[in-house]
């Protein structure tokens, strides 16, 4: 790896930009793809571009066979993040489960009695109002946002901000009836049908979850599907 490649790669990581490095095993020729920008001494053809896109999507490196020999295609995705609005009982299960699955978790709840270190050991907490918290956290395409408070005062501002972000998964807890009312309120804030369709509501895969921990499993499962198989998650 050339020093300039290393520097560019670290810069991409620091700015939260996805990058892919392609290196030919035979001679060490390499290319770095950061967004649309390609640098390095390895020619990047359609085969490698497709392999790079696939590597970012699956978050796994792989060997691509080219006419000039095998090329290792390695994705450098920004870390996965989960923002949970509502420091409720379900959150006490979802936060540690998501951490085990590799997410950096932040729990947002302006109610200090809910979002306390005693209830959420080892989890980042924010007592800001949800819209301010999301403005500060800046959800990206590797971020999931889940609202669990049942309270429109808290959930709506978070969903409003999430819909203005490229978050890969947006979900809201609540019955179908409350979800319909929620969509009407968000439409009044200027979100069109396509935007509103991004919200998974009620949150979670229909597993028949009965307890807070089981609901957490269903949300984490749906989040995983949205990440790994986005076509199936819609």
């Amino acid at each position: 790896m050339k020093s300039e490649t290393l520097a560019a790669l670290r810069e991409a990581r620091a700015s939260g930009t996805p990058a892919v490095r392609c290196v030919r095993l035979g001679d060490g020729a390499e290319a770095l793809l950061v967004g649309e920008i390609v640098s390095g001494d390895l020619a990047v053809d359609a085969v490698l571009l497709a392999a790079a896109a696939s590597a970012l999507r699956s978050d796994r490196g792989s060997l691509a066979e080219t006419a000039a020999g095998p090329v290792f295609v390695e994705p450098f995705n920004p870390p996965l993040r989960l923002i949970i609005v509502g420091a409720v009982h379900i959150t006490q299960g979802l936060a540690p489960m998501a951490q085990m699955a590799g997410y950096q978790v932040t729990v947002v709840d302006p109610r200090h009695a809910f979002a306390s270190a005693e209830r959420f050991p080892g989890v980042a907490l924010s007592n800001d109002w949800p819209d301010e918290a999301l403005d500060a956290l800046k959800p990206d395409a590797r971020t999931a946002v889940v609202t669990l408070t049942h309270d429109p005062k808290l959930d709506d501002p978070a969903l409003d901000r999430a819909l203005r972000s490229p978050a890969f998964y947006i979900a809201a807890l609540g019955s179908r009836k409350t979800h319909a009312a929620r969509l009407q309120r968000l439409a009044a804030l200027g979100h069109d049908a396509a935007a509103l369709a991004r919200i998974h509501g009620p949150a979670g895969l229909p597993l028949g979850a009965a307890t807070p921990a089981e609901i957490a499993v269903s949300v984490l499962a749906e989040m995983t599907q949205a990440l790994r198989r986005p076509k199936d998650a819609q």
Binding site: M1, G28, R60, G61
Partner: protein, 107 residues
């Protein structure tokens, strides 16, 4: 992507900044059961300092020897380690896995 990626990259950059020769080893393929996933990395410097891993521990010695040659100007190389089920546990490749490790200089 393994979670220690940033630590490896930062370490490689820091050792280069100290003026050390540095090599990077990356798991590029695995077959069967392997303790470290594709993309796992080990960074080595000329003093033998290392950070990260490409296996459960026992192929690191061989990888570091190759890394020393590579950082002295040798060509990049791809090493393959495979072991029988009987020997697997001893050499740190649980369940008889095979790993392919690419070793290159950071220069």
């Amino acid at each position: 992507m393994p979670q220690d990626t940033d630590q490896i990259l930062d370490t490689a950059a820091a050792w280069r900044a100290e003026g050390k020769r540095v090599a990077l080893a990356t798991v590029v393929a695995t077959w069967g059961s392997s303790p470290r996933q594709v993309g796992s990395q080990l960074v080595v410097d000329a003093d033998g300092r290392m950070e990260g891993s490409v296996s459960g521990g026992c192929i690191e010695g061989a990888v570091v020897r190759e890394a020393m040659e590579v950082m002295q100007g040798g060509p990049p190389r791809t090493l393959e380690f495979g072991v029988s089920n009987e020997r697997a546990w001893e050499v740190g490749l649980a369940c008889g896995g095979t790993v392919k490790v690419f070793v290159e200089a950071v220069a």
